[in-house]
Symmetry: D2
Subunit: 258 residues, 4 copies
């Protein structure tokens, strides 16, 4: 007989259990949605510090204005206003390598390096700088790119980056991933020959990793955050749509090239 | 020249503004993800009471175990593990009329009735009962169904319902939608001839409406909550998959019927 | 023991059966993809005439240039080039009420009327005109719209319409749905007070219904046709992208409206 | 002023042009849907031989019974019957690396090898065998897998494979990709130490490449074919659903593992 294992939840006629707790008496009204999202993804309840960083990172990732994914969601809603779920899904489907991927790529890159560093608990900034130099040099030698560096708009520094690092510090969860990311920020100019900002998507990946979230699921948290942003865009599209204008402009300025 | 209006955010080289506030100095670390989601959807910052109800409702809606949508997301992940966004999107696409729709349907039903009631601020329970009787009778007469009534498992009462109502009461946001929903719970047996529980999806819709969220977007909040649940399911699917078993069982027990 | 009935296909170690035929020896190279699509949807093999109309209608629906759904697919591809399936899915998700829905709406509208007409085999054009007048008048009286009428560009007549009707006539499958649709084209000016073209999406719905396809699945055939169009758009997006320009234009012309 | 280039289509008040031809007078009723799909993807009209292979391959890929993607589409339709496009999109989203990817992976693998072979027009089978040996050996040495080999059910040979090859031969489009694929089929046992069938998804990729389709879009054609299959599954789900049974079985046999 086939069995379907799960540790998420169970229910009986009279009760619903979620993550081993009674939903009604132990969870509702007692944990935030952010806390539940962390817990569901990891099967561990976050510490207050981890939760503080997690909520801050979700807030930082929720919206980025008129991104291609937000525009795609709005156009989908314009075409099929009967299916809100379809418009949100369309917006999430752009959460791939080019846009939302930076968070996951940065977290995984840092994680791979950190795994090879041994015990870094008592490391000085200079030791982190050495590790960062080695990682950058090696990545470049094999033709790779350092994720989390550079931003098309915030060329002098992404305003989210120092704030997220500060929150992690205050919350006591700043760890190896953020240390390494900061060191990359310090040493990359001497290797790459130019100074690039540590971007907000990258610091989000580093901070989520330090906050105990699995690096191979980081894209998922970017998608969760973005779902809130997409609902905002679709709420606005109902009142003050841009979909018809985007369509009209593209159609009007189409140029036939055989 | 085409213009694309938005009130969500703007950014300059040095700053990011979200909902009229500086993201880095005014929002990060200072509001929860739930608060931002509310704010993005309504362009209004929630009161502490509204936020408490909103977070509780999101927690109540995040997971329902092995729903068809969770199974669909897991099967999609099994087929295309390279695209987490695709698996989440597939899970959300089931958020339509039959499953996730109850929250929105209940909120809209109650809202439509409430709009016709005039000033109900000083109403007694008996007055709410009369309004509920009229609404049920009229809906039945036109062949409609009362949304939010009944549950396939929690036949004696959905354990979420009294807790959500209690939180709304404590938070000072219990209003006309929950009053009417409770009254429906009291009077429907005398009209329908049987006693059905007020279900958790329905009370979620009523509570969200009382917490100031737009009734025609309620499905969106159910989808946001469910995104967290889907990430939990996909995290579990990575470790302890059910997708291959579902596939094998369906395939093995397929019966050809020309 | 649970069973999963299907009449689509079965396979053994040595053979694959599809729709009751051996795939390798009876179908491959012997039927067109269009024929298989018809057969899968209906479990009936089309007559040559039905197939001719079906293929022509799919060709007529495959592309409509820079529609909102094509733009959404291209933007999704630009954001997540690693997931072609996500970009196609995003494009299909706009196949709802506003754009692709006309084909299904027209087919269903005509079908509902036709069901009430009795035996129309020997009807004269004048009899069809009477039926059309009654249907338009009744629909208008109940506040409804006649689907399939009007086009934002082809104001003097949609060039697809007479050709599709001609193909159906030649193929011997012109039936009650197209007859009624043509009659609506003739008589609506006297009732509506203005002359609107019978549009290509509408005639597609009428022709598919006459070709024996189920009217409650017509949207599916529009989606199938559009999948081919979306692949064309994405192939072009790889070579000569518009996604970056759409994004840049919307972002550059964003206007903050608090 | 932004411009949006496209070579797919244009329209004026009186005409619609598609791929440089008048849709109404030159295409409708004169080309099959398969021919249009080929043409849209490549901007080249297929030769009769190329079209014959393309249609046969689409037929071979359209359905594979109760695959995870078909089950996911059915579950989505069960949850949200109001959105056929959502159910089809959910089914396509599983078209990733594990299932539908084989067609593209095989086409690309063969293409990469073929590009390095120089002029193979007059090659003998023995020369192809040598090239196949080299490709397999090199791929294995770098830890890679040979795509298109092996099948969980058709262990003695996939019945589609010889038929597709035969059609390509007859149609005069058998070229380097199929030659190399056949050679892999002949020589792999001596290198891998066991005999695996050339599977249907792999031969589809080889045949599409020989038929002139771009190897980096082959997944798209698998998705197009599968769209027809999904419509068949959803048509069947309306009449004789399996979604409720899948849901009930998984739910009933859920085992809580904390």
């Amino acid at each position: 007989m086939a069995e379907y294992p799960t540790g998420i939840g169970t229910s009986t006629t009279d009760s619903i259990s979620l993550l081993g707790h009674d939903l009604a008496s132990e969870l509702l009204g007692q944990i935030s949605f952010g806390e539940l999202a962390y817990w569901l993804a990891t099967k561990r309840r976050p510490t207050p510090g981890q939760l503080r960083v997690f909520e801050a990172v979700l807030v930082s990732l929720a919206d980025h204005g008129f991104t291609p994914t937000a525009i795609a969601a709005r156009l989908t809603y314009y075409s099929a206003p009967d299916s809100l779920q379809g418009a949100i899904a369309a917006g999430l489907l752009g959460g791939g390598s080019r846009f939302l991927g930076v968070t996951e790529d940065t977290g995984q890159f840092l994680h791979d390096v950190v795994l090879g560093l041994g015990d870094t608990d008592a490391w000085t900034p200079a030791e982190w700088d050495d590790a960062a130099r080695a990682a950058i040099t090696e990545t470049r030698a094999s033709g790779g790119k350092i994720p989390g560096l550079g931003h098309p708009v915030h060329k002098n520094g992404d305003p989210r980056t120092p704030v997220i690092i500060g929150i992690a510090e205050e919350a006591g969860v700043k760890g190896a991933h953020l240390e390494l990311f900061e060191a990359i920020g310090r040493v990359h100019p001497e290797i790459l020959g130019r100074t690039l900002p540590l971007n907000g998507a990258g610091v989000a990946g580093a901070a989520l990793a330090d906050a105990g979230l699995p690096v191979d699921l980081l894209r998922g948290f970017a998608l969760l955050a973005r779902t809130a942003g997409l609902i905002g865009h679709l709420a606005e599209e109902r009142e003050n749509p841009i979909g018809p204008t985007v369509y009209a402009e593209v159609d009007r300025n189409a140029v036939y090239e055989p």
